[in-house]
């Protein structure tokens, strides 16, 4: 997911809208998706910070309330013709599994020689909110998803959570990060063991 992606609300949203319970800021953002503006523009118009917009948009995407809007060649060329897109960086800093992020963020990079691989592995963080959203998406109901998340976190060694001063996890709107590799691995293993599903790559973000 990048700041230049365009999203629109879906039929799933139309079906569920009457029963959804969201915070006002989430509604503001969700209702701003019009299939015309980029995520970055949508965030700006709804007065949502880039970080919050990214977090909420991923939640909307996982719940099927929004979907990416295909664009025309003209729109694509117009978007990629501008190489200075520094303002999209905050929103583009999180990867999403279906499409490698760097290719979307800077499409012109394909015309340049590939850079040699760095010796140092890229540091990244695990977004706890994305872990929870993933688990909620796997459960039959939100309530069961909460308890699925509880089962997962029961399996994570307490000392690793304490080492990162994680005292609690909010099962709605959690903004915390797992920074250490050991904790990230422990959470990923717990998700795999309990939910029998791998943690999606989109749960990780660049450090």
């Amino acid at each position: 997911m990048t700041g230049s992606d365009i999203y629109k609300r879906t039929a799933v949203y139309e079906r569920d809208a009457a029963t959804l319970r969201l915070y006002p800021q989430e509604w503001k953002l969700l209702l701003a998706f019009d299939g015309q503006r980029t995520l970055e523009e949508t965030a700006r118009s709804s007065e949502t910070s880039p970080a919050d917009a990214l977090r909420h948009a991923e939640k909307f995407l996982q719940n099927g309330w929004i979907e990416e809007q295909p664009i025309t060649l003209d729109q694509y060329l117009k978007r990629t013709g501008t190489t200075e897109r520094t303002s999209t960086v905050p929103l583009a800093s999180v990867s999403h599994p279906p499409q490698p992020e760097p290719a979307l963020q800077t499409p012109t990079a394909s015309a340049t020689p590939p850079t040699p691989p760095s010796d140092k592995p890229k540091e990244r963080v695990l977004r706890l909110g994305a872990v929870i959203d993933h688990l909620l998406s796997l459960a039959d109901s939100r309530s069961l998803g909460y308890f699925l998340a509880y089962r997962v976190f029961l399996r994570v060694p307490l000392e690793l959570l304490q080492a990162e001063e994680i005292a609690s996890v909010h099962l709605a709107g959690e903004a915390g990060l797992a920074r250490g590799e050991k904790l990230q691995q422990a959470i990923a293993q717990a998700v795999q063991a309990i939910a029998r599903q791998p943690l999606p790559e989109s749960a990780f973000a660049s450090a």
Partner: protein
């Protein structure tokens, strides 16, 4: 033996059923949390120890105001006393324990409710994580809390309900 999330959910569901019966379905569950370091206790608490196929504890803790309006809705009590709060929580947790025993069968043991105010009389061993579900009614809060040992929840294929 491990517990599936449906089994864990049963404890909350049966608590909500009881509370909603008295409050005419006005209990509003707020966003839950998983706590790793501390337990939450309000003014009064009714706690049940779990043994056998589920190991740990489950409790309901509520403010005096919550219990006051709860008792008023239930019995039209006007005078609020310490004993009334304890009685209300005793009834809530007794119903919870009885239903859980019936639901999970003979391999499961739920203790009689232990009612206390402010903080527990005896130390409670903190499991690695507890699930805390805030419950709101008339702007007053109660909390449903469950803490299980990790071995109760490890095997995703097992469910007492299945």
């Amino acid at each position: 033996m491990p517990l599936h999330e449906r089994d864990i959910s049963y404890f909350l569901d049966t608590t909500l059923t009881y509370l909603n019966r008295v409050t005419d379905n006005q209990i509003v569950p707020r966003d839950p949390t998983i706590e790793f370091q501390a337990l939450v206790f309000s003014a009064y608490t009714g706690l049940i120890h779990l043994k056998g196929e589920a190991e740990g504890f489950v409790y309901v803790t509520a403010s005096q105001s919550f219990l006051q309006i709860f008792s008023t809705a239930r019995h039209s009590y006007r005078v609020m006393a310490d004993e009334t709060c304890r009685d209300a929580l005793n009834d809530i947790t007794t119903d919870l324990a009885r239903n859980a025993r019936q639901h999970f069968g003979p391999g499961f043991h739920a203790s009689e409710p232990h009612i206390f105010s402010t903080v527990p009389d005896d130390p409670i061993e903190m499991p690695p994580a507890v699930f805390v579900q805030p419950l709101s009614w008339h702007d007053e809060l109660a909390y449903f809390v469950i803490g299980l040992t990790p071995s109760n929840t490890n095997d995703p294929s097992f469910s007492l309900i299945l």
